[in-house]
Amino acid sequence: MRPTRVVVVGAGVAGLSSAVAVLEQLPHCSVTVISDSFSPDTTGDVAAGLWEPFLVGNSNEKDILKWAKGTWDQFHQWFQSGEEWGVRMVPGHTFSDSPSQIPSWSNIPAQFLEYSMSECQQISPCYVFGYSFTTWVAQPSIFLPKLKAIVEEKGGKIINRRLKSLDEAAPDADVVVNCSGIGARVLVPDLSVVPVRGQVVRVRAPWVTSFLIDESKSTHAYIIPNTDCVVLGGTLDEGEWDLTVNADTARQILKRCCELDPSLKDAEVLGSAVGLRPYRKAGVRLEEDVVMTSGRAVPVIHNYGHSGCGVTLMWGCARDVASRVATLVMKAAL
């Protein structure tokens, strides 16, 4: 029996995790990954990698929880493997100047704790709402190259090529998996995918071992320790495509984060980076579709529109993709 040919478009966190999930769950499939950018140049490489369902659009809440839990469990496995996956368990705090609800995902992380108003105001008089939890931080610039190596080890092919539309991926495919992130806007095309530009600064500050997020609208900022640096952020510039680092913005991020944690003033600045979060108002698009190529209808599974939580959702979504590939290729036998 000829192996089912699966072509994955995209080699970011969504694409490579989907490729690995297909290869692991469906060993009789052959997998080809086509992308024009690879780590360290993907959107995920810019991300701080904190497990927290953040900026998810109007996705179905049950789906988000399922996908986020799938990723949580996978990070746990990577952590326990003893290999360097760039995964650490990090405690930390989130505060805001406006009242809010306890997030729906609060029972997934370890030790989720809501602060009382007076506890919040001990931190800063402007905070009225806050909570602490302990979560995984996974650094894509460390785990993406490992995922790519697994794809190749398991016989998958990696092709560096820029596609102009999705059907260009289809001629040699039985199933196309579309993990093109912000690229979905052109490839699908899906004009509801818009960039929410994020700029971050990376510093060396090994003494920072917990995360701190200020979710207040006017003073939004975060400090998130990674394996080999601390990520300071950030911006949420909707509709902005500019991938160049804005020096003014970088200074503002540093200033704001030094206010949150004054010890950062001594930190060595390693660099700045910009990524385009693939925001989709309707939320994550993970569903079946069809693309036509020379008269043949090729099934597509879309897996894009992860907005601000591509890392948090990646493994749960990848599993879902693999299950859908499996049912698509299941034909009854005469």
């Binding site: 029996m1 000829r2 769950q25 009789h28 859908r324 049912t327 299941m330 036998a333 005469l334």
Partner: protein
């Protein structure tokens, strides 16, 4: 006919057509319909058959159906396989129904009817056909595999019912016991498919703890785990 069916399952159009033709040629009643072919023509690609070959085989079978007087289950079954090759599932369903009216005790025909219905998005109708096939031949591995797929598809690709996993598991057990009904169907391919699909069933059933057993293809451990499950009706 079994050969033609297997080629059809593997999407090898040309080989399936040639097998269908040689079934007629070997049949005492229809031998005269098939013209003698001298030296073999130029070799054809096994997958995509030229339209002329598909048309020729279709014409031969229609002619055979007309000459036989009464309904011949073999001819109608062959025609059903051919319509599957052509992707005309509605006509294929008609043919298998006609064949079954002549011979309702052929479990293979019931499975072919079920598979055709399932592959044209009519899984709900496929299930009773599979069940008839399994009543007639409880050891029909391919049919049990198909029934598992239908169970998954009926749940709209989202939730996997425990019954699907049980069908796949019992198919694996039948295969391990060497009690398969069919011989020509590629054993390793079915087996790989069964293991892959069972793997897909486990996470939605909250049975990921069985993944190590699955990776080791440890049938005994899986059987033991499934025996302890509070499950629906056992696979018929």
């Amino acid at each position: 006919m079994a050969l033609a069916t297997s080629y059809t399952n593997e999407s090898e159009q040309t080989n399936a057509c040639l097998a269908l033709k040689s079934w007629l040629r070997c049949h005492p009643k229809y031998r005269s319909l098939v013209p003698d072919e001298g030296a073999a023509g130029k070799p054809l690609a096994p997958t995509l058959a030229p339209k002329s070959l598909l048309d020729e085989v279709q014409a031969l079978y229609l002619q055979a159906a007309n000459t036989s007087g009464t309904v011949d289950a073999g001819v109608q079954g062959g025609l059903g396989v051919l319509y599957n090759l052509l992707g005309d599932y509605d006509k294929a369903v008609d043919c298998f129904n006609a064949a079954l009216s002549a011979d309702p005790t052929d479990s293979r025909l019931w499975n072919k009817l079920g598979a055709t219905l399932a592959n044209s998005n009519r899984s709900a109708e496929a299930v009773p056909a599979y069940q008839r096939a399994l009543q007639l031949s409880p050891g029909f591995i391919r049919c049990r595999y198909n029934l598992g797929i239908a169970c998954i598809n009926l749940k709209c690709h989202r939730q996997v019912p425990a019954s699907a996993a049980e069908h796949f598991l019992s198919a694996l057990n039948l295969q391990a016991a060497g009690r398969g009904l069919e011989e020509k169907f590629s054993r390793t391919a079915v087996s790989d498919n069964l293991w892959s699909i069972l793997r897909v069933c486990l996470p939605p059933l909250d049975l990921t703890r069985l993944l190590p057993a699955l990776n080791n293809r440890d049938l005994a451990a899986l059987n033991a785990a499934f025996k302890d499950l509070p499950s629906g009706p056992p696979p018929s």
